[in-house]
Symmetry: C2
């Protein structure tokens, strides 16, 4: 089951948290021997038992906006913080939406380059600043802002229905839904991610400010501790204490196959779909559970993150393996239900973040996961979540309280703006 995880616990707990995990991985390697080494073949060093290579965070890095291809913030290796916000369109004119998207695009390009939007301090000294200023002294911090267009944009008001992305519609009711209207839906979404939360917050704040009169804010989540890994990153942990996203998409070829649109409506070429879910976790109840049961629920070991059929994090789960007359990995564990092997090959990109809403009215810690997925067919999420919501052992501990779906247009070239081709 998990030969690497038990024996040396007391010794390992004297080491540092990080040395501790590296040590555990080494022990796993020794115990598993040649078999594990063979299973690891073909994996990159960066995913080699997941000691985070990011001991330092460089706030001077920046990401390009005008790629003319895919929007940033999707394939971009997840930054450490995220401010996600959705908006309702309050103006019924296409022109207002068009101008907003053009203005937002220019502002996003500035901010991603680490520049303020126009002036903080107007030349006359008597005007209102176009940038609120609180990110002035901080580097670009790898900021990305990713825009989504919700189903409402293609409703009867704006006359854009004939150009709607083919698969964009509100998600059906799903088995796990416990949705709060206050954290559901939206006509537009902004996902601002950065390695400094003040940079991410500043971006959404100033874009919301620019949108006044055309859009109203709807719901927002501030995420921290990225709970998904990208190319070259080790796997982070969610607030259940488990590594999250070990089997996530990382390779460009996987993005081509599962994320980017090739044959939807023409103006969405190179775009994708975004599904956002606010998932509350009952962490105080979870914390009272035995670790062996937590591992049974996930199908992975807690410290190393190995599938219960293996010994190392990146071992391929064997859903048929049995020990002592029982399945190593329960068929209703989270990884079994979510695995592409058990879902006709369906894979989606997860780009999630942890969040906390403080303390709930019962005095318990209120926290969870801002789940964000990108995929070229939203029905794949519906299929996965229908299975998970129906029988996932994790359902006892989580609750889907927010939900929204958006079409994510491709990135503009210099001189263009997000969604421009929609109005052509």
């Amino acid at each position: 089951m998990t030969p690497s995880s038990a024996n040396d616990e007391s010794r390992r707990s004297l080491l540092s948290r990080r040395g501790f995990v590296a040590g555990a991985g080494a022990v796993g390697g020794v115990v598993a021997g040649a078999g594990a080494a063979a299973a690891m073949a073909g994996h990159r060093d960066t995913s080699n038992d997941a000691v985070d290579s990011g001991d330092t965070i460089d706030l001077d890095r920046s990401v390009a906006f005008y790629t003319g291809l895919h929007q940033a913030g999707i394939e971009t290796p997840p930054q450490r913080y995220c401010v996600y916000m959705t908006f309702d369109l309050t103006s019924p004119t296409t022109r207002d939406l068009q101008v907003l998207l053009a203005r937002w695009s220019a502002a996003i390009a500035q901010m991603m380059a680490g520049k303020p939007i126009g002036t903080v301090q107007p030349t006359s000294g008597e005007g209102v600043g176009s940038d609120t200023g609180e990110a002035l002294d901080i580097g670009p911090s790898s900021l990305t802002v990713t825009l989504g267009l919700g189903p409402g944009i293609f409703g009867p008001d704006l006359g854009l229905g004939h150009r709607a992305p083919r698969l964009l519609r509100d998600l059906p009711r799903l088995p796990s839904d416990n949705l709060d209207r206050a954290t559901t839906g939206g006509d537009l979404s902004l996902q601002a991610c950065a390695d400094d939360p003040q940079v991410a917050y500043h971006a959404v704040r100033d874009l919301a400010r620019m949108g006044r009169g055309v859009v109203d804010t709807r719901w927002t989540v501030m995420g921290f501790g990225r709970a998904s890994a990208g190319l070259g990153q080790s796997t982070p942990r969610n607030l259940l204490g488990f590594k999250d996203g070990t089997r996530n998409l990382r390779e460009p070829s996987e993005f081509d196959q599962y994320v980017w649109l090739h044959d939807d409506v023409d103006w969405m070429d190179g775009g994708t779909y975004q599904v956002a879910r606010k998932i509350r976790m009952n962490i105080e109840i979870w914390d009272a559970d035995r670790v062996s049961d937590q591992e049974h629920v996930f199908g992975r070991s807690k410290v190393v993150g190995a599938p219960l059929s293996g010994t190392r994090e990146f071992d391929t789960p064997d859903f048929h393996a049995r020990s002592h007359g029982q399945d190593d990995i329960s068929p209703v564990s989270h990884i079994a239900l979510a695995a592409h092997e058990n879902n006709g090959g369906i894979r989606i990109l997860r780009r999630s973040y942890n969040y906390t809403d403080g303390i709930n009215p019962f005095g318990q810690l209120d926290a969870g996961l801002l789940f964000i997925a990108y995929l070229n067919d939203p029905r794949h999420f519906v299929a996965l979540q229908t299975r998970l919501g129906g029988s996932d052992l994790l359902n006892e501990y989580i609750s889907h309280i927010g939900s929204a779906v958006f079409a994510v247009p491709p990135a503009p070239k210099v001189g263009g703006y997000l969604g421009e081709a929609l109005f052509a």
Copy 2:
């Protein structure tokens, strides 16, 4: 007034946010010439017009817990994130409090060293983990956890009243108070600060978990973008876009004079007092204000942060300077009312953080400042806030919605625990 701030705005806005500020500082230096250079004499390079030296964040740094002197997290240069939480004591026995403080101390020492609390994965595999695990792969991240004891600890229940810190009592009602009971008070406080928010959240979560049965959670704020500077740090910005804490305490001699206790009750020697205020900022209203008025409200320029009587951030404000028949710095501006020159020499350490609570019921961005002060006489805060709350121009834009006061005992030596001398 602010000769450096206006002329080159359009050119500067083409530069990076950081280059932009550095450029503005250089211009200020040229304009002010030898006078400004003289005013700067005696300041360290690090405070030299405040280009943040922290472009990279090192998550491998750690801070010592068992100093036997002052608790960490006070003089420690502010880390980037803070989770602040207060608790109500639910057990009426001194013994329970004593055991909790001993257990918390041991756990805090482990976590500050970057180690889990005991085991994440019990040796037997069948037990409950003593650490919830989500900080396993992250370095110490300069974590500090600072404990405070509220007035309730010295009430009639526990029989500790005769040992109460001399100046510990609930704050009186202040002119600016708009307090919400849900974010006010507490018998114990934990301030967990770190350069990674997951590390700070993990610390408070696991300490809250250890406290179940003895304490209930009361209120919490998660702060980001430190809004105060310590020794060697440049001055960060609050969510009003202004530098905050330019005149903060930074030198050890200042801490001796204004923060550490020397002649309170004996068991508090080397301790201090903590005042926490949750201050909501009406940022959407603020953002609609002219920058010249914002500067008038603060008494400083927005981009450079110079007092309106000077040209560079660390110029000493001249509250008597006048131009064109008017005060350069309004006597009811924030810096005039808060200045030690105008308050009988009173100074306090501010160690604040920005926060956001998302969107309020009116669709506006809900954000503000978690103001935390350390000082060796809480009456000094009362005096300052009475003046500020009565006439500060800033009051139009802010609202004090949370408040608490705590005695902060000194740090234990190895083998001891926080507050141990209280029970001797």
